[in-house]
Point group: C2
Chain length 321, copies 2
């Protein structure tokens, strides 16, 4: 089976198990993404384009395509690419906000081309996403993606407002994750097919994905995550591992996040890990994925697509196990 | 005639000359804008909301409404608000890029709430724009606005790439202005009504608007512009007044823009003004407006709306005379 060269390992299981149609569609998505970036490669800077092109797991496009099924081609491919472009835009802007030097082990757009260009580059990716969807001529899809983008920005604003506040509780954390991550996963599924169970499925694995990502920030190792341990802590982002850890070890709440340096962040990661918080958060995420799969079981849906979606859900967990 | 309280003086002539329908429509646009901002006032911060709310000339919404005419209400009002939201989003992001302390004499979102929040706030306004348009259910409008947004971001990237380069020529400058300013004016007209002459009209006054804005950056006075003279120069943005001035006084091209401080920027403004470049650029802009009005004359269009659009064009010039 041919596999688009830029599709990374975590999706291997899905591609291997899938019938012939999925890899080809993902390849078309890659081409649209490349076009959206390379078109302006000169302006974005070669490094920046390379960083974006290095790609991620393409989880969101996969959700769009799998929910849409093999019958729907051009329209679903565009929706898949548009969803990934919005995701990329937020990554580029997040890196501006966080002053992040690395993303997926490569220099960020903000680091290579400057924060200035990174803001504009994010805007460009964002605009391209809507241009792509609108060209397909479907206002419902545009509305879905625009609403998810509103949620993303609100989640980002909420995270900035909460920064360095160790009084943030689990409920507030989950609210932020829903806005910042789960809504775009949900949107990806609904862009594929409007069905309540699929919405539930998308939201569930999106939330689990964020929880596991936050565990990874504490657990590392950097060779695997492509960034230093405790990056969130240095940015003042209070996540569930820290909230959970403070329940067992209230002295964690006394830490002054503003005063943390890289070594201090690593030490705090160790303290969090010592409470067993990482295992507890991981267990929560695994439970969320199980619930998402249960919702999927109830969806009126083609058996093969359901099977492939379940593999995507497993992939979210496996990547972090 | 009732006039929405937040509509500023420059549009007075248009409102005074207009029949009853325009002020009411502009009032509806203001309400949509307020909703899009106030909805998240808590997150954006009261200062930020105030800055955005302080409003500008609402030129772009006026173009949408005037081109659409009195028969089209809800849809045109949404398109008008969406266009202004995209404009607002770019202002917020521009202020992040430029580290600008003031906009229209008030502190910028970047200055009051931090660059972090300003990036997210811009993203929010941007997403809201597309959500608003998509709700109206018109994919053609979304495509128009998305394409204009792509142009805006490309213009911004081009400006960043050109920064501090005194070799930038007029052609390159005009190319940037078309992307960064004229395209959204053009889009505003086309959102109102798809007609080639209106596109020409919008592009023409958009370009003139940018030229005059760049003159104002050099001429000041700050009491009127709400920002210090030579702000563009301090950002390394080479504009037509400087390019024009260097034709008469080539020594201007020797200036090291990187080394400029506020006093140096003021002194450079004086040198530019001394060459007569400001009058020459102003004359170019006035000619562009005249051409735009000539295009308008040829448009198949209601006479009253045509008259009002011509007043908007005059307003662009008058504001800067």
């Amino acid at each position: 089976m041919t596999r688009p060269s830029s599709v990374p390992p975590p999706v291997t299981a899905v591609l291997d198990a899938s019938s012939r149609w999925l890899p080809a569609r993902l390849g078309e998505v890659e081409q649209l993404l490349r076009g959206a970036i390379a078109d302006h490669g000169e302006l974005l800077g070669a490094d920046a384009a390379a960083t974006l092109d290095a790609g991620g797991k393409r989880l969101r496009p996969m959700l769009v395509l799998l929910c849409a099924g093999p019958e729907r081609d051009g329209e679903a491919v565009r929706a898949a690419a548009a969803t990934e472009l919005v995701h990329m835009a937020t990554l580029v802007h997040d890196d501006v906000l966080d002053d992040a030097p690395l993303r997926r082990g490569l220099p960020t757009v903000a680091a290579t081309s400057g924060r200035d260009r990174a803001v504009a580059a994010g805007d460009l990716l964002f605009s391209r996403a809507f241009a792509l969807l609108a060209d397909a001529g479907d206002a419902r899809s545009v509305a879905l993606l625009a609403d998810a983008s509103v949620a993303l920005a609100r989640g980002e604003l909420a995270q900035r407002r909460d920064a360095f506040d160790l009084g943030i509780d689990e409920e507030r954390y989950l609210y932020r994750c829903r806005l910042k991550t789960a809504r775009l996963f949900e949107c990806a599924c609904l862009l594929g097919r409007e069905q309540e169970r699929l919405r539930e499925f998308g939201a569930g694995i999106g939330l689990a994905f964020q929880l596991l990502d936050d565990v990874l920030d504490v657990s590392g190792p950097p060779e695997r995550t492509g960034k230093a341990r405790g990056t969130d802590l240095l940015d003042g982002t209070v996540t569930l591992p820290l909230i959970e850890a403070a329940k067992s070890d209230p002295s964690i709440r006394e830490v002054d996040l503003h005063a943390l340096d890289a070594a201090g962040a690593e030490a705090l990661c160790d303290r969090i890990a010592a409470t067993g918080a990482l295992e507890r958060v991981r267990a929560r995420a695994i439970e969320m994925v199980a619930n998402a799969k249960a919702a999927l079981e109830k969806a009126e849906f083609d058996a093969e697509q359901r099977h492939l979606l379940a593999l995507v859900a497993d992939g979210v967990v496996q990547r972090y196990s």
